[in-house]
């Protein structure tokens, strides 16, 4: 017996499509709502402002996407940013030249990321636990290095990178490079394999340990890069920089539609996710909502994204079951 048309699978496909495209729908809806309710939201001036807002979180979240695609996670990004920026701040007060300060910041980021990678791959501890530990370790180190003092009066040469179109330019360059890496290099394609099934990717000869090290080093590097943009934008250095950034970054990744279980997702989705987050936060500030509620809103957004993710997973599961039934009955 064959069924010519299964209404159930049709609905399933429809809903899977909607859940897959949820980020586009949400983005358009939010822009529409804000444009109607807020005067002066839909203007070039405002979009420039938003683009500068997005850059810091965006750079971090494209980095974290690599970790999430490979089946891991990095919670220590905010603290890596704080520690590398603090070391940079020490360099600035010592009067080091600009490029060596930038070098210090970026190298610190890579070293901290490789510590994460070392603990994860060699000691074989869960990613989430390692980075929860290093989140606190790096933050503590940042506070001790700066002695809790703000470094202000940063030379104007550093501010160049946070002004005008520079942040969004940097963000686009970073994301284009990462899109190319994840789509067209062996490293990038193997990341999906590791995230999908680590055991089988080891058996098929993927150097998982090496690639995982690269992933966490890249995470550290991009966090430090975001730190450079942050110095340029704010004009000060303080050890409490980036508290909760890991959280916003994960939200941007998950709301973009990258599954946190690993093995799928893409950089473009994360870019859309961080644009959504930026627009939402700027819009809510323009509506006059107290910034105290910002954390709650990102938290609820993350929960919503997880809900959509699990819905899609379940629908796909059910769709597969229906498909098997059809095969069985035919």
């Amino acid at each position: 017996m064959r069924r010519s048309f299964n209404k159930n699978t049709f609905l399933n496909k429809f809903f899977i499509n909607i859940a897959d495209k949820a980020i586009f729908i949400l983005l358009i809806l939010i822009i529409l709502i804000f444009s109607i309710t807020i005067e002066g939201f839909f203007s070039i001036n405002n979009f420039n402002n938003i683009s500068r807002q997005i850059a810091v979180i965006g750079i971090i979240s494209v980095g974290i996407t690599l970790a999430i695609i490979s089946g891991g996670i990095d919670l220590s990004v905010g603290s890596i940013m704080a520690l590398s920026v603090s070391l940079g701040g020490v360099g600035i007060t010592e009067g080091l030249p600009l490029y060596s300060v930038y070098l210090i910041i970026l190298v610190t980021g890579i070293i901290l990321g490789s510590i994460n990678g070392f603990l994860i791959t060699r000691l074989n501890i869960k990613e989430i636990i390692v980075t929860l530990g290093t989140l606190n370790i790096y933050r503590g180190a940042a506070i001790i290095i700066t002695k809790g003092i703000w470094v202000t009066g940063i030379p104007s040469a550093y501010l160049f990178i946070g002004e005008g179109y520079m942040p969004i330019l940097l963000f686009s360059v970073v994301s284009i490079i990462l899109i190319i890496i994840t789509k067209y290099t062996i490293f990038g394609i193997n990341l999906y394999a590791i995230g999908g099934n680590e055991q089988s990717s080891i058996f098929s000869g993927v150097p998982t340990i090496k690639y995982k090290m690269y992933v966490y080093m890249l995470c550290g590097f991009f966090s430090a890069l975001a730190g450079i943009v942050f110095i340029g934008r704010s004009g000060f250095v303080q050890p409490q920089v980036g508290v909760g950034y890991e959280f916003s970054a994960i939200t941007a990744v998950v709301i973009g539609g990258t599954s946190i279980a690993g093995g799928n997702g893409s950089i473009t989705r994360t870019i859309l996710g961080s644009i959504l987050m930026g627009i939402l936060l700027v819009g809510l500030t323009m509506l006059g909502i107290n910034p105290i509620w910002e954390d709650a809103i990102t938290g609820i957004l993350l929960l919503l994204a997880i809900f959509i993710d699990s819905l899609r997973f379940r629908l796909k599961e059910r769709g597969l079951k229906n498909y098997e039934i059809q095969l069985y009955e035919s």
Binding site: I125, G133, I137, G140, I143, D295, I306
Partner: protein, 333 residues
């Protein structure tokens, strides 16, 4: 036969690790007494017991969640929430018992939402509880506007000053909670179900254990204990700042892991967590006494946590390797 032997091994391992923890506590104590003679003062010691009491209550709940194979980070925020709700309601003019009750109910509500999301979405509990932690913390800042809640009634604050036979009352309460929960875990059917579920959830649900109900129960119990611990903190500290318990999740989880509970679930004891909390409190307070920058705490706790969990992983790896070697030897013979 084989099943019996493994069971005995696990019990023996826990027994040995508990004795090792007690020895560690005495060693730390000895070193501290040598370094700082005033450590032997009665006042100082009772202050230490008071400080550990709320952490013990939190650790009991977290241990049960870990044994059941779950994970929770919200308890630090729930601890602050209950104290703040209770304090603000009392300040608006409600009687104290009612505001106390609503404080605990608010903690229960938060943990219920957490449990609902974890169970219904079938998602990594660590991420969901991270999000809930952030949401609850934000709600706390929203309620208080960033101000510290003060003005608890005299009788409530005096409760932390009472001591029975030289031991602070709140510490006795904490021990009472720990003993009740320990008996519950080891002697009742539901307690054994929790262990079974942590060992292998799928097997447990196939044998007819209603795993979802037990999960709700475990997370709600954790929320209840967290809000109770928060109110004890309020009584001890006489005020609740909005950043109460910000570092508590890290400290408590580290202590629970030191106590021999596995994050993967199925193994653990409340006595171990109790000893772990004691070690943490001794070490953290010794930082204060020795005059070391308190921010070393963060680094210190983080390093200990990673080392201890690394040890756990190494142990499981070794236990997997050794039988295989025996097996190979058998084949060669």
């Amino acid at each position: 036969m084989k099943f019996n032997s493994t069971k005995v091994n696990i019990n023996k391992e826990q027994y040995v690790s508990n004795i090792a923890l007690i020895i560690i506590i005495f060693v730390i104590f000895g070193i501290l007494i040598l370094l700082v003679p005033q450590f032997l003062n009665y006042g100082f010691f009772s202050e230490l017991l008071k400080r550990s009491s709320e952490l013990i209550i939190l650790a009991v709940g977290v241990t049960i969640v870990f044994i059941s194979g779950g994970f929770d980070l919200t308890f630090g925020s729930i601890m602050a929430l209950s104290g703040i709700v209770c304090g603000t309601l009392y300040n608006t003019g409600l009687t104290f018992p009612i505001s106390f009750l609503i404080g605990i109910l608010s903690g229960l509500l938060a943990s219920f939402i957490n449990a609902l999301l974890i169970i219904k979405l079938r998602f990594e509990p660590i991420i969901i509880s991270l999000a809930m932690m952030q949401v609850v913390r934000s709600v706390i800042y929203g309620i208080t506007g960033g101000k510290t809640v003060v003005g608890f009634p005299e009788s409530f604050i005096n409760m932390s000053e009472i001591s029975v036979f030289g031991i602070p009352l709140i510490f006795l309460i904490a021990i009472f909670v720990a003993i009740i929960c320990s008996l519950f875990l080891t002697k009742t059917v539901v307690g054994r179900y929790i262990y079974a579920m942590g060992g292998n959830e799928r097997a447990a649900s196939i044998t007819g254990i209603r795993t979802d109900r037990i999960k709700y129960f475990v997370y709600l119990l954790n929320g209840f204990l967290a809000s109770f611990g928060g109110l004890i903190f309020a009584s001890r500290a006489n005020s609740v700042p909005p950043n109460t318990g910000l570092n508590v999740p890290l400290e408590v989880i580290t202590a629970v892991i030191i106590g021999g509970t596995l994050i993967s679930g199925g193994v653990g004891s409340i006595l171990g967590s109790f000893l772990g909390i004691f070690i943490m409190v001794l070490l953290l307070n010794s930082f204060n006494i020795l005059g070391i920058n308190p921010f070393w705490n963060l680094i210190f706790v983080g390093v200990i946590m990673i080392l201890v969990i690394g040890r756990e992983r190494l142990n499981t790896i070794f236990s997997k390797i050794i039988p295989r070697k025996k097996f190979l030897k058998l084949i060669r013979k």
